[in-house]
């Protein structure tokens, strides 16, 4: 899985709502091999205030058409600039970066849990798992009904359990409030989202004995292990989110 720097062509920029959009990018050659939870370091051109690249997960890959998709949340100047990309524009990225979710054991009961832009790597993971013959449940959390994105996409890959903070769709509350967690005995959980959410899921897993991997979202200088800025404090000392992660087993974290 050699990393590469490549300028891809934007073939689509699809706006999901005021906050989210999906970029479809065409590689000039054949896509590299990629694994779920890997990410790309995206160069934001034309934004005077974004000096560094921005890490964005591989949301989806279409090997036949050599396209990848990125699901992006508008958070600041970088993502705002990306949201204005138009068909035909070029986007320079370094990819694929980082480790990936581990494979579950045969027959394990799996949960993919995520919230906000943290749901991005879960789609790729779900497709991967489906190919290997696993059944999956999703547990996805959003602020409210209007924020729910890609419900159909995920529904086509597994059962989707939803929470919204205001209860306007699915269960009211946070992810860990969802009754499905009481009704089922998940053995392996893959999780990505805001840190408080991941911490809540992690402690639920610890309680129930489920294995749990989380994909972290630290600030990154380089994305390739060269700057040591993206560290996370683990039981094995400071590790780099970009090369030792983004996926960590919660047992390695000091959460």
């Amino acid at each position: 899985m050699a990393k590469r720097i490549e300028s891809l062509t934007v073939t689509d920029n699809h706006r999901l709502n005021s906050e989210y959009f999906i970029l479809t990018l065409l590689s000039p050659g054949t896509l590299p091999e990629m694994k779920p939870a890997q990410f790309a370091q995206v160069r934001v051109e034309g934004s005077p205030d974004t000096f560094l690249r921005r890490p964005i997960s591989i949301h989806d890959a279409d090997r036949e058409n050599n396209t990848i998709r990125l699901l992006v949340q508008i958070l600041g100047k970088g993502t705002e600039t990306l949201s204005r990309l138009r068909q035909g524009d070029q986007l320079n990225i370094i990819y694929p970066l980082g480790n990936s979710f581990s494979m579950p054991l045969k027959g394990q009961k799996l949960l993919l849990a995520g919230g906000g832009c943290g749901i991005a790597p879960l789609l790729f993971m779900a497709k991967y798992l489906r190919e290997k013959g696993f059944n999956i449940d999703f547990l996805l959390g959003f602020r409210n009904r209007d924020r729910v994105i890609e419900y159909e996409e995920y529904s086509s890959l597994g059962k989707v359990f939803l929470t919204t903070e205001d209860g306007s769709m699915g269960e009211k509350g946070f992810l860990t409030d969802h009754p499905v967690l009481k009704e089922n005995r998940y053995e392996q959980v893959y999780c990505c989202g805001p840190e408080p959410m991941m911490k809540a899921v992690a402690s639920w897993c610890r309680m129930t004995g489920a294995a749990c991997e989380v994909s972290l979202e630290n600030l990154m200088g380089c994305g390739i292990g060269a700057c040591l800025c993206c560290v996370v404090d683990t039981v094995r000392g400071n590790l780099c989110t970009c090369i030792d992660g983004p996926v960590f087993n919660i047992n390695d974290l000091k959460w």
Partner: protein, 303 residues
């Protein structure tokens, strides 16, 4: 054929493009993208006697045309380096330089002594300018007496080429360059990062866990270039310039101002190929101008 080489004493560099410590890992992080051996040299991560965990996260903040870091010399120590990294890094067909750090003069000396025996390390870069450690680092590089002392002590034990890396956080950097030259440095490199700070207004807290950190990137280039120019006019030993070099044009600014060579730092984060692109760019520039030796344009603006 254009001659791009330069020398520190009898140590020959095939071209003037090196990578800056702390920004290029141990080279291997870049193997996927380029042939690291094409470079004039690489300066590896800041190394200490003992392993160091560095500073707590967050250690980085983006700034206008630059970044702030407070990594704090995270590294696994010289033993680990010797055992696991040195064998691998020795494969590169270029000058591999170790960036040497310590809290006390004795640390620097002990580390330098150890490095004498590493055959494939022809030079060390004495980092007396790290702004991100509580002890040592910049404290040495901002006090003339200490700068002298640590240089003298290391010079006394280190047999190969000694490069001293200067801090820009001083009133007169020329004084420091002259002092370390007098104490036997074979070259000086500059600049290390400028001490800076960012406040996260939303959280009403400093952006870095350490409050202050080191500023690098194009933002600092005018300051770096000024210092390189000042130092190059004052010392006789080679000057290795760095600070915000992103492309060929930037690199040429430093050479025209008197640098014998340059280091590419933060640029490698934005474009991992920056160093080789700059190397190719310099070669093309000289070829296009019909200049056969890069030394012909070194310090040209002073003529």
């Amino acid at each position: 054929m254009v001659n791009l080489g330069f020398s520190i004493g009898d140590l020959r560099f095939r071209n003037p493009v090196l990578t800056a410590s702390g920004t290029f890992g141990y080279g291997s992080e870049f193997d996927d993208f380029m042939d690291v051996s094409r470079l004039g040299g690489i300066v590896v991560k800041g190394t200490t006697l003992e392993p160091r965990e560095g500073n707590p996260y967050p250690r980085m903040a983006e700034t206008p045309s630059g970044m702030l870091n407070s990594v704090g010399l995270q590294n696994k120590g010289i033993d680990y380096f010797g055992k696991y990294i040195y064998p691998r890094i020795s494969e590169y067909d270029t000058n591999v330089i170790v960036n040497v750090n310590g809290s006390y003069v004795d640390d620097y000396v002990a580390l330098a002594e150890r490095l004498n025996s590493f055959d494939r390390i022809p030079a060390i870069e004495l980092n007396i300018s790290c702004p991100n450690v509580k002890m040592g680092g910049m404290a040495f590089g901002t006090n003339l007496g200490s700068a002298r002392e640590v240089t003298r002590a290391v010079r006394a034990v280190y047999m190969k080429k000694l490069i001293v890396k200067l801090s820009p956080n001083v009133t007169n950097i020329v004084d420091f360059a002259l002092a370390v030259e007098e104490e036997g440095a074979d070259a000086v490199s500059l600049i290390n990062t400028l001490l800076g700070m960012v406040v996260d207004v939303k959280r009403m807290k400093p952006a870095l866990s350490t409050i202050t950190g080191g500023l690098s990137g194009p933002a600092v280039r005018p300051v770096a270039l000024r210092m390189v120019w000042q130092v190059a006019r004052a010392v006789k030993i080679p000057v290795i310039g760095m600070g915000g070099i992103m492309n060929t044009d930037d690199a040429l600014q430093f050479i025209l101002a008197g640098a014998s060579a340059i280091q590419v730092g933060t640029a490698s984060f934005i474009d991992p190929l920056a160093s080789v692109k700059i190397l190719e760019g310099i070669e093309k520039y000289l070829t296009d101008k019909g200049i056969s030796d890069i030394s012909d344009i070194k310090g040209y603006i002073n003529r």
